[in-house]
């Protein structure tokens, strides 16, 4: 069954017809063409699909698009403003926190939400905030460094 939903993505308002079973992940990627949000398992195991839901990180593969009605969604595409990278994006490049890059959009989302609620996290708090985001390439060392660096300089 089709449902009409109204929500914002990266500040832009959308009104869309979505199926009851469609996940937010599929709608973002397939209907809105926002493929920055990645798909790693569709089962809540990897965090590649992490987006911000009213500022809180969620696995977009585990929420239905209909539930997004009335909410504000943020994806990696919304992080840089007018071509100017977000400090976390810059720090990820600077610290080589990006290897294959497949986990990166989700990592950035989780990190952004962490710094919004806890601007001066400890290393352990950073690791705990990223626990739902798998990275198979980096061993997390540089990712943690990048997040701590942004916290220090903000």
């Amino acid at each position: 069954m089709l449902h009409e939903i109204t929500f914002t993505v990266n500040g832009d308002p959308y009104t869309l017809a979505v199926y009851s079973q469609q996940t937010l992940l599929k709608v973002l990627r397939e209907k809105l063409g926002l493929t920055g949000t990645k798909i790693g398992c569709e089962n809540g195991e990897c965090g590649a699909c992490t987006v911000l839901w009213d500022g809180e990180p969620v696995n977009s593969c585990l929420v239905l698009a209909v539930e997004a009605n009335g909410h504000a969604i943020e994806t990696v595409e919304g992080m840089s403003v007018g071509g100017e990278l977000h400090p976390l994006q810059k720090a990820f490049i600077e610290h080589n926190a990006v290897q294959c890059g497949f986990c990166t959009p989700g990592m950035l989302m989780s990190a952004k939400s962490l710094l919004a609620r806890n601007p001066q996290p400890t290393e352990l708090e950073v690791r705990e905030a990223l626990v739902g985001n798998l990275c198979r390439c980096t061993g997390y060392v540089r990712i943690v460094d990048a997040v701590l660096d942004v916290a220090k300089n903000q």
């Binding site: 990627r29 397939e30 926002l34 493929t35 920055g36 949000t37 990645k38 798909i39 790693g40 398992c41 569709e42 089962n43 195991e45 990897c46 590649a48 994806t75 990696v76 595409e77 992080m79 840089s80 990278l85 994006q89 990820f92 490049i93 600077e94 080589n96 990006v98 290897q99 294959c100 890059g101 497949f102 986990c103 990166t104 959009p105 950035l108 290393e123 352990l124 950073v126 690791r127 705990e128 990223l130 626990v131 739902g132 985001n133 798998l134 990275c135 198979r136 390439c137 980096t138 061993g139 997390y140 060392v141 540089r142 990712i143 943690v144």
Partner: protein, 757 residues
């Protein structure tokens, strides 16, 4: 080194960073094309069975289903494989592992494709399952490989190494350590699952976007099973979300499947694996069973080693014969011996199938021998780190294959670095004094390794690169070797800029494309930096010489009189000419502003019959120390510290190198403690990322690493390799640390939790 502008500079950043942090980087799962069909695969529910019925008609009758294929749609039933041609693009007559692809459906939507797969009429007759290597060798065991492949039943291959005669030495040795180790399968678990997209071309050919490691091999296999000339198959590599050795054979199958469907339907076709599919159907790190005998004199000098190994290839050979060869060449470790024999049997079973995975056999071989060396040191009442320093390879020694190491060897320095940084002596003593019944016990352990550079006796080891100066004075670079997150695009770009003396931003490396780049063999064995890097260097030298010639002509001097300042060319009268002026002049002179260069690793030779020769032209070395805390109530082990030193020659791109080091270690931690991919009678037990646990951010300690820079004359600017071997030392270091903590030796990886009553 100080006169180098880019090589080894800490400030260098990845050329792909920006696209990847903004979400702009397109991976194959992000690509859609107008009119694109979705493919889904019918997979075997049984590990071993004969196919009795395979009827596509009910699927084709469904709305939305456009086409479906089986083995019958391919030349020779889609038979492929190298070095052993035993695999099929889609199962033919038999299925040999659970999850093996049998048929593929292309439909207007994913849901329709799934319905199509459900509707296919498949009847299987179950065959006895061979789930164990010993059982596979039983003469009554059912034969697994196809009759077309020459084997002795399920014994695929036997690999030998013969250096001297260890028997008399072992018989005379006062101390002989004899132990066995059981090293289980490991899943790559790259974050991006397998994917391929095929686009039919008007000339009857096909263009492929696939996340495969080796686009040229993919092209050749797809062309052969489709019956097309290779030029009609174009393989382009998009951004890739990690491979670690895992995206070869499985991607050749998927690529051939979507290519065939695209040709049949005249429409683009895309196949993306689900996670469960990826974990079920992709090949694994092969399980190894290793039996070692190590002999030493009373003073702790190693004398001889004798090793027997069984390698579980699973249903198909894939790269297991090659990985088993590499395991054989490293089986006794980075030590001096007077004699070593190794016998390795590669065995077919119904345990999935196995192939390449970071470390390529050495991860398993080193794990076994490094545990055994620890056990031997313990027996001799020696400190395990000092025992290694006493016996480890140094420049001028002979390796376990009997070959003289002429180049610099950073192994002793690596061992000393991890000893000093980890506070080895104090901790070792402190942990030895812990009460035996303490609920939490700590331990510290060490392992070291060597790893042959390049393919070695595994194949011809070359790469080709091209450079071209464009109209806008930018420089386009291609290489037949690819980048899947390990940073070789950055390395190649910086080498070209260094050699040509230009700004980095001038050099643009194209994405790998079999139509624009030149075949360079497989991107495996961590060989991209040395072989691919040297090819770039050779090419840039050629192009640079032409520019220098043009500059000399402009300045009316000899080429040798030209000096460089930044991008400028300066003649003897100190007249500076910009890069653009020199390029313009070179063009006016009719000099060709495009160049192609090739580099091949110095020849090595290995005689498979006699088990003798020279397996590699050079080695990298390293050592790691791990510190663990064992909780006797839960039986769990936490890694609390890791120190790693790697001798990778000159480090070209330090940021990238450290990234590889930390990432490799994380996979080693998983291999040691978490990641067993278990089969029970051929049935995989863990096909999701909840039950198959890979390390998360909280599972890893801080890691302190360094590179001990030696020089390898043949490498570009003295570089060797690092991506694979950096994981090799981690698991045994952890196992050895756990032994100190508990006093009990677990001879199996991954080490399961050991709760105490």
């Amino acid at each position: 080194m100080s006169n180098l502008r880019y090589v080894g500079h800490a400030e260098l950043r990845s050329v792909d960073g920006r696209a990847r942090v903004t979400g702009e980087a397109q991976y194959v799962c992000d690509m859609t094309l107008p009119g694109m069909l979705y493919a889904k695969v019918l997979r075997s529910p049984l590990p071993h069975a004969r196919i009795l019925t395979l009827d596509l008609a009910p699927a084709l009758a469904l709305p939305g289903v456009v086409a479906a294929i089986t083995h019958a749609d391919f030349v020779e039933h889609g038979n492929f494989g190298w070095p052993v041609k035993d695999d099929y693009v889609l199962a033919y007559q038999k299925v040999r592992y659970q999850g093996e692809a049998i048929a593929v459906v292309a439909a207007e939507t994913e849901a329709a494709a799934e319905a199509g797969v459900e509707a296919i009429r498949l009847e299987l007759a179950a065959l006895p399952v061979v789930g164990d290597m010993q059982a596979a060798l039983d003469e009554n065991a059912p034969r697994i490989p196809p009759a077309s492949v020459k084997t002795d039943g399920n014994l695929g291959e036997t690999i030998i190494l013969r250096y001297g005669d260890p028997e008399p030495l072992l018989a005379a040795a006062p101390v002989v350590m004899e132990t066995s180790y059981d090293l289980r399968h490991q899943e790559h678990a790259y974050l991006e699952t397998e994917g391929a997209l095929a686009l039919p071309e008007p000339d009857g050919g096909v263009t492929l976007f696939a996340n495969n490691q080796s686009p040229f091999i993919n092209r050749d296999i797809v062309a052969s099973v489709l019956g097309l000339p290779p030029q009609q198959v174009r393989s382009i590599q998009p951004h890739i979300g990690g491979t670690f050795g895992g995206k070869d054979d499985v991607l050749y199958e998927s690529s051939a499947q979507v290519a065939k469907l695209a040709l049949l339907t005249g429409r683009p076709v895309r196949l993306i694996f689900t996670r469960a599919e990826s974990m079920l159907a992709s090949y694994k790190r092969q399980a190894l069973r290793v039996h070692l005998r190590l002999g030493s004199d009373e003073r702790g000098n190693l004398q001889a080693a004798q090793v027997k190994m069984l390698a579980d290839s699973g249903a198909y050979a894939s790269m297991t014969p090659m990985a088993a060869w590499r395991a054989t060449m490293h089986a006794a470790g980075a030590y001096r011996y007077q004699a070593v024999h190794v016998d390795t049997q590669v065995i077919y079973t119904n345990n999935g199938y196995s192939g390449a995975f970071r470390g390529f056999g050495n991860t398993q071989a080193a794990a076994a021998v490094e545990m055994a060396i620890d056990e031997l040191a313990e027996r001799l009442h020696r400190d395990p780190l000092e025992f290694r320093l006493q016996n480890c390879l140094r420049q001028g020694d002979r390796t376990m294959t009997g070959n003289l190491v002429k180049h610099e060897v950073g192994l002793p320095a690596c061992l000393e670095w991890v000893r000093d940084k980890s506070g080895w002596q104090q901790k070792r003593a402190r942990y030895a004094a812990q009460p035996a019944d303490a609920p939490r016990r700590r331990g510290i352990g060490v392992a070291c390794y060597f790893h042959g550079c390049g393919l070695g006796g595994e194949g011809t080891d070359f790469a080709v690169s091209t450079l071209k100066i464009e109209r806008d004075y930018s420089i386009t670079l291609t290489s037949g070797l690819t980048d899947f997150g390990q940073g070789s695009r950055t390395v190649f770009t910086l080498l070209a800029a260094e050699e040509l003396g230009v700004e980095l931003a001038r050099v643009q490396m194209l994405r790998p494309d079999t139509r624009t780049a030149i075949d360079s063999g497989p991107t495996v064995a961590s060989r991209a930096s040395i072989v691919g890097g040297n090819a770039v260097r050779v090419t840039a030298t050629k192009l640079g010489q032409r520019l220098r010639l043009a500059a000399a002509d402009l300045c009316a001097c000899a080429p040798a009189q030209i000096i460089r300042a930044g991008e400028q060319y300066i003649g003897p009268r100190e007249e500076p000419h910009s890069f653009e002026e020199v390029v313009d002049h070179a063009r006016a002179l009719g000099l060709q502003l495009a160049a192609e260069g090739r580099w091949e690793i110095p020849a090595v030779e290995w005689d498979l019959e006699t088990g003798t020769g020279k397996p590699y032209f050079a080695y990298v070395f390293g050592a790691q120390v791990a510190e663990v805390e064992f909780n006797s109530r839960t039986g769990r082990t936490k890694v609390t510290g890791l120190w790693a030193a790697h001798d990778g020659g000159t480090i070209l791109y330090p940021q990238g190198a450290y990234g590889q080091l930390y990432g490799g270690i994380a996979q080693g931690v998983g291999y040691a403690l978490m990641e067993g991919y278990l089969f029970k009678d051929g049935v995989p037990q863990r096909t999701d990322l909840r039950s198959y646990r890979v390390p998360r951010a909280i599972d890893l300690p801080e890691i302190e690493g360094t590179f001990i820079e030696t020089r390898l004359n043949e490498g570009p600017y003295g570089a060797k390799n690092l991506a694979e071997p950096v994981m090799v030392g981690t698991a045994p270091a952890i196992a050895n640390a756990l032994f100190q903590a508990t006093g009990e030796r677990v001879r199996r990886l991954p080490i399961p939790p050991q709760p105490r009553p």
